[in-house]
Amino acid sequence: MKTYEVEVRIWLKPSVFDPQGHAVEQALHTLGYAEASDLRIGKYMHLTVQSTSLSEAQMRVEEMCERVLSNPVMETYAYTLKEVALS
């Protein structure tokens, strides 16, 4: 068994209005950061996964993202996997 460190990031789809991101972007503008735009607030999740191989781990994480961690109706996701050495 190998251990993988997984980072999952989830955002609302670009077509869906993100009120939190909009509010924070407005705040940046008010504070003089006029160059900031397209601010979106998403979710970040960190987990470890035990698996026999990288491809197996990827398949399982993909399934977790599709089925539970994100709602494909309104969200998109991205993830990275990194094998970690067990001490």
Partner: protein, 234 residues
């Protein structure tokens, strides 16, 4: 008639819904814990408001995997009436019994107030006692009630006359002012406003009563029909 009001960890409008049903219809209303796996004994199912499983991942996202939701799906397929209120509506979209999704209000506020709804469809078991175009007063209490759906879904909802209620003044940024929608068969209704909080004079509105009465009447007629067919066949 016998109603099941489903209780998830975090439901907080379960007792209100059960009381409203008993008060308005005189029927039995039972609180059913989320680990139940058989709802075949009930005539109608209500998914009440609240914050199931804390809504930590997304509203309704974890509740969707409760054993009872599989039972709700089975009964819905049989044509049984299923009413999802507020968090119940969110559970219905997450479990794909209804299309679309409910997101954070566009104004970032938790809105708790009386709203005016427009009755868009009075041909459903839930809305038969209302007049089409009628304005009714039902309160809302939510931070994540902005209904969104893609254009194809919205077109299907409109052509199928599946938008049951719209807001007269949109409190959350819902697309097309949508407050409540029906499934394709018309036996599942999800809505963000709380009809169980508008059933007594002291609640400042009694407009929610007719939803429960309409459901009660529909179930009674459906049962009478089954009875009549049964005796005709024997």
């Amino acid at each position: 008639m016998k109603w099941a009001v489903i209780v998830f960890p975090g439901s907080n409008c379960d007792e209100d819904a059960a009381s409203a049903i008993r008060e308005v219809t005189g029927d039995e209303a039972h609180l059913i814990w989320h680990d139940a796996s058989d709802l075949s004994d009930f005539d109608a199912i209500v998914l009440p408001g609240g914050f199931s499983y804390g809504d930590y991942l997304r509203s309704g996202a974890i509740a969707r995997f409760s054993p009872v939701v599989e039972a709700v799906k089975r009964e819905a397929q049989k044509g049984k009436l299923v009413l999802g209120i507020c968090n119940g509506f969110q559970v219905l979209t997450e479990s794909h019994l209804l299309p679309g999704a409910l997101l954070r209000n566009d104004n970032l506020q938790f809105r708790c107030e009386m709203t005016e709804l427009v009755v868009e469809n009075n041909q459903s078991p839930f809305t038969a006692d209302y007049a089409i175009g009628e304005r009714i007063r039902i309160p809302i209490a939510h931070g994540e009630g902005r209904f969104v759906a893609d254009d194809t879904t919205l077109a299907k909802l409109q052509t199928g006359r599946r938008v049951a209620f719209t807001y007269h003044a949109n409190p959350n940024g819902s697309v097309q002012n949508i407050a409540g929608i029906l499934n394709e068969q018309g036996n599942v209704l999800g809505l963000m406003p709380h009809p169980e909080r508008a059933v007594m004079e002291w609640m400042d509105s009694v407009d929610g009563r007719r939803m429960f009465l309409s459901m009660h009447r529909y179930m009674k007629e459906a049962r009478a029909l089954v009875g009549a067919n049964g005796s005709a066949n024997s």
